[in-house]
């Protein structure tokens, strides 16, 4: 499955996350394997100071 399709399925805005496959950052056109371990890391922080 493509990263972009995964994010769409999870209803996540690609602007607000990084996708890390194993130890590597991946772009939204990358293909993920069925057994890949994927971390979707939010990047939004909220302090308004």
């Amino acid at each position: 499955m493509r990263v972009s399709a995964l994010l769409a399925r999870l209803e996540l805005n690609p602007e607000s996350v990084l996708v890390i496959c194993g130890d590597t950052l991946v772009t939204r056109d990358a293909d993920l394997g069925d057994t890949d371990e994927v971390e979707i890391r939010p990047v939004i922080s909220g302090g308004a100071a």
Binding site: E15, S16, L18, T27, P42, V43, I44, G46, G47, A49
Partner: protein, 312 residues
């Protein structure tokens, strides 16, 4: 997607630049954007001693790293805000960055030195914690920098932070805040210079920078910020950005280049009318500064802080 520079496989796309980068060229991109921000706004000069406001999150640790990579002399300041496990993990991340690199990390603990913490201040004022937190940070970054002889305080505010603050200020036409919203605020009596060298980098970029540099930062969001207005503005802006890449940068940079000047006079007037706080000596429009008033409410009777010391 291939790296815009070397055509090797890319690890991150930056749609606002219509570009993708391999790891090495992405790190170069981050440093170049920071260098450009510093030079274009004359934020720092060679040999100046910089105090980086370090929270343990992605932005401040990436900023500290980039400033050192660019050759600046930069120490860190961590404020203990007393937000339970979140604060402990944040401090651990700041120390884990500083120690192996032999960096100076000053620490100030709000509770032990000023008698209150952020949850306590929120309860005492019956207002959202982010207000007391921001106020305390602004006050202490400035006062510690002055006491310790730093030329400038650098904060990790990024493009997303600044665009979200701008949206909030514009929605309410907060002209006083608009006047002060700029990537560099010059020094003035009682105020050290403040700079935001990351205003050209999005937070997705600062997070990716940390991942690629192997910097372990506090990934968890502050539990007290959940659902705040600022996060709502970021969500709205990211929805726009997804549909139309470059929107956030156009909004912020357009303001800085073409509109800020129209509000800047308000800040000059405000600064000219300041006097000295009876409690701590900081500049203030009233008798007591906002931080001392907060301390009076949150920690009645607490006396002045003790001498600060670096961790190493």
């Amino acid at each position: 997607v291939k790296c815009r520079v070397c055509r090797e496989p890319a690890v991150i796309d930056v749609r606002r630049h219509n570009a993708a980068f391999c790891g090495d060229h992405f790190l170069h991109h981050c440093r170049e954007q920071t260098r450009r921000a510093i030079h274009s706004q004359r934020m720092l000069t060679e040999g100046e001693q910089v105090l980086v406001a370090v929270s343990g999150g992605k932005d401040s640790l990436a900023l500290w790293d980039v400033l050192l990579e660019l050759g600046y002399r930069a120490d860190g300041l961590y404020l203990g805000l007393g937000i339970g496990e979140y604060s402990s993990a944040s401090r651990d991340a700041a120390v884990a960055f500083a120690e192996p690199r032999g960096l100076v990390l000053h620490e100030v603990d709000l509770a032990s030195e000023y008698g209150f913490d952020v949850p306590g201040a929120a309860a005492a004022t019956r207002r959202a914690p982010c207000g007391s937190c921001g106020l305390s940070k602004r006050h202490l970054f400035n006062s510690v920098a002055l006491e310790r002889g730093y030329d400038v305080v650098a904060t990790g505010h990024n493009l997303d932070d600044e665009a979200a603050v701008l949206l909030g200020n514009v929605l309410r036409w907060e002209t006083d805040y608009l006047a002060r919203q700029y990537p560099v605020l010059p020094a003035a009596p009682g105020f050290v210079r403040k700079v935001k060298p990351f205003f050209r980098l999005g937070e997705r970029e600062t997070a990716a920078y940390c991942v690629l540099r192997g910097i372990d930062y506090q990934v968890e969001e502050c539990p007290m910020a959940a659902g705040n207005r600022h996060l709502g503005y970021k969500e709205v802006l990211n929805t726009l950005e997804d549909r139309s890449p470059g929107s956030k940068a156009a909004f912020l940079f357009g303001y800085l280049e073409r509109a800020h000047e129209r509000f800047a006079g308000d800040a000059d007037e405000e600064r000219a009318a300041l006097r000295t706080c009876a409690g701590c000596g900081s500049p203030t429009p009233g008798e007591l500064c906002a931080f001392c008033r907060l301390q009076e409410r949150a920690a009645p009777g607490h006396r002045a802080p003790v001498e600060l010391g670096p961790t190493r």
